[in-house]
Assembly symmetry: C2
Homo-oligomer: 471 residues x 2
């Protein structure tokens, strides 16, 4: 038995893909991904139209899809994160239907419950055998964990593996197995390894970033969670990684060993695993090549599915076992609602990813941010786009001071006792406005370009087209 | 978050188990298993009745269940293999409803398609964390692969992990993950490691067995399949393991490297992996402690689910990639139908396991058997119980000669050309009857005690109660 077909078009033909259907992708190849563009080019050449593309994220490289939207090949998008020309085109209203924005946990919930039905899933496969046993550990385009692709492979009606590294049967380890895969297509290359690695996975050198990160680590210590068995996640951004750096210093000093680090995994977390400061890594996505190497070789570096990571619809996901998460923000409002989706000009430049999932699950969720972002106050009266609800955010840490959600009075007392510069979030807002002035409001049209679905499936906000953003 | 409850009864209570429901178990702890008996004792004490017990196999130790059948706690059984006092009681008609006998591939097909609905699955877990991340590699009752338990965990309405080795979160590797598990119960012991190991996993010392095994290896060679990349499975019985021994000799001599060995895995296969004679092991069940040790430490020793192994309802299972399987038989008839379920006295003493799955999938399926079994001819006019259909069996190898299924004329020619003692199956039958006489027929009542379901879901035979088998 052998599932290898001669071309992408042959596989698409066999899959029965027709106008009006939904296809899906995972984003582990990040800005180095060739698969999404390649598949949509093939679909366009085959004359198929009115396709909804559900990808766990879109990167600048996927600006290529704009042409396929213009020609009617793509009429819908569904994603957890979107940046670059495609995001700008969506903000400008290129699609008739609003994009559905989900979280990394909400997406597998929707897929498993059937509210996001996938007709054909395309799995960018760094290695596969002829039966479709896939992993991301081997091959020229190795990306490590394939966590976000697993729900797609489990639930899509048809599954096509696209690989540039066909290996003898049986391939191992098996991240996605042959029981789920219909066809295997060999292509020249599925991605550019240089682009697979995000540019934001190194600890910041910015001294302000280190002040913020240092406060964040002190907040964790003061909260009482910095003890044997602590678990934590930090984003890949410079400031949140810097928080991990300062947390590590405190763990070393206190001879404290953590149970697990989670999330998108970077070399910094790998180093902590290897030096014995944490027992395990729970990895749904590798952010750099150190992480890719580690997940291949270190059995304590665990590959997990998006459902394991953050799906609120299963019998317990890992974010619920998280002590601390350190997150970023493009805006936070005085009720602690966080925006990571739209920029200060109202244009789409991101999305939840695991932001709202980890904030909901962790015992302590900390947002770190400079008081000013692009010369504008980070704290606003109301966020442009509500991605993470304020009732799941505990602390805002800036270089000027630390604000605690009024829901966490006992935490505020602890931070004060520890000598941290605790202020109200309104005071932080006032301090920022004193420097930068009160920002003007972005003007929006009444055209809805995105619906923000919270992890549990409820719509918690809409994204509007800003005035003057036509393309 | 923590799923650990105080007792088995508490977990059963929380699961909502009620009269008339179906519970399930896996059989990796084999004759050392404590979990099945422990759970049924608890259910009996709780006053729950009319339970169907679906276990991938029952061993002599599960004779303990007979009392729970007598008292009405258990009213139905569903299994792939059954031996010992429970099997004898079933043959004697202890149950009002016939037992459903499936194959190792048919069972996950039935579970995933919903024809075998499981209300509560009990997973004997050699190690688990408090969230239900389970593997069989660690702990005092380590049994290696948990392949047969995976479909149960995926599809049961409620899943209870029963463990004697609770480890810190997160446990790894993860064979069954927390997204599937509802509760975790810690007990003193889930099994006796001495009983986990089957007594039949060593190569036979019987010279007749080696003659048969030698012929089997020659059949494989003559078939043309003994070449680079060969894949094979042999049962754990002495004669089929001896076939692996003779195959190994030929592989060494011909400098041939195999792609994978599959099945229930023994130390003999582990040795072949470690000496580089095969690239991978595909393991759905460890038959001895060497296999348990290997699956824990060797990344080329792959744990796979029952669906991956043999489920005909998925998008391709591993038996379809198998070159050669060497199988046993209690009877084979002149149309090559095989019985591995009932003994010569008509009493239940086994079941398909993977017999009919591998016979259907492999390019070459060989049955090895002594010409006489318990002084009775192995070849009969019609098998007492048809488990593996004759159209999936290619060759019968005995010490007296080799019979090829008439459907495989080209294979018969090859074996003749190679100088093997090819005879018709009728000639083998006659040769046996010349020694032992024509056996008398077992007399059966018209009471049906078992239904034999083929891997695709069709009923291919019924098992009747033998006359005089009352208990």
């Amino acid at each position: 038995m052998n599932k290898v077909v001669n071309s992408l078009k042959e596989a698409i033909g066999l899959s029965g893909l027709k106008d009006g259907m939904t296809i899906s992708f995972h984003h582990h190849l990040r800005n180095g991904d060739y698969v999404v563009n390649m598949v949509l080019d093939a679909i366009a050449e085959m004359g198929i139209k009115d396709i909804k593309v559900a990808s766990s994220a879109f990167f600048p490289v996927h600006g290529h899809l704009v042409q396929h939207i213009r020609s009617g090949v793509i009429t819908g998008l569904d994603t957890n994160y979107m940046a670059g020309p495609l995001a700008r085109a969506v903000s400008a209203g290129i699609l008739d239907k609003p994009v559905t924005f989900r979280s990394h946990g909400g997406r597998p919930r929707a897929i498993h419950e059937g509210s996001l039905k996938i007709d054909v899933a395309f799995i960018g496969a760094p290695s596969s055998d002829a039966m479709g046993n896939i992993n991301g550990m081997k091959g020229p385009s190795a990306c490590g964990s394939l966590g976000y692709a697993i729900p797609d492979a489990m639930c899509a009606r048809k599954v096509i593996a696209v690989t540039d590294y066909l290996v003898p049967y049986p391939n191992s380890p098996v991240s996605i197995d042959q029981t789920l895969v219909d066809w295997v297509v060999k292509v020249d290359s599925i991605g550019d390894p240089a682009g697979i690695v995000s540019g934001t996975t190194r600890v910041t050198r910015d001294p302000i970033g280190h002040i913020i990160a240092g406060y964040a680590a002190e907040v964790i210590q003061a909260s009482g969670l910095l003890k044997e068995g602590i678990s934590f996640q930090t984003g890949a951004g410079g400031a949140s990684l810097a928080a991990a750096f300062h947390l590590r210093e405190k763990m070393l000093k206190g001879k404290i060993k953590g149970s697990f680090g989670m999330g998108g995994i970077t070399g910094f977390f790998v180093d902590m695993l290897e030096e014995g400061l944490i027992e395990k890594l729970i990895d749904v996505q590798c952010f750099d090549l150190d992480a890719v190497k580690s997940i291949k070789n270190n059995p304590d570096h665990m590959e997990v599915s998006a459902s394991f990571y953050a799906n609120p619809g299963v019998k317990g996901c890992a974010v619920d076992n998280l002590d601390v998460v350190v997150l970023g923000a493009t805006e936070i409002d005085t009720r602690f609602n966080v925006n990571v989706l739209t920029d200060s000009n109202g244009i789409i430049m991101g999305g939840s990813g695991g932001h709202s999932d980890t904030a909901a699950g962790a015992k302590l969720s900390i947002v770190v941010a400079n008081l000013l972002r692009s010369r504008l106050p980070i704290v606003v009266d109301e966020v442009t786009t509500r991605v993470t609800p304020g009732n799941t955010v505990d602390v805002l840490v800036t270089e000027r001071g630390v604000a605690v959600n009024p829901r966490r009075k006992e935490l505020e007392d602890r931070l004060k006792d520890a000598g941290l510069p605790v202020m109200s979030i309104e005071e932080l807002k006032a301090a920022a406005e004193k420097i930068a002035g009160k920002p003007g409001k972005v003007s929006f049209t009444d055209e809805v370009v995105g619906m923000v679905e919270y992890r549990d499936g409820t719509i918690i906000d809409r994204v509007y087209k800003p005035v003057g953003s036509d393309i």
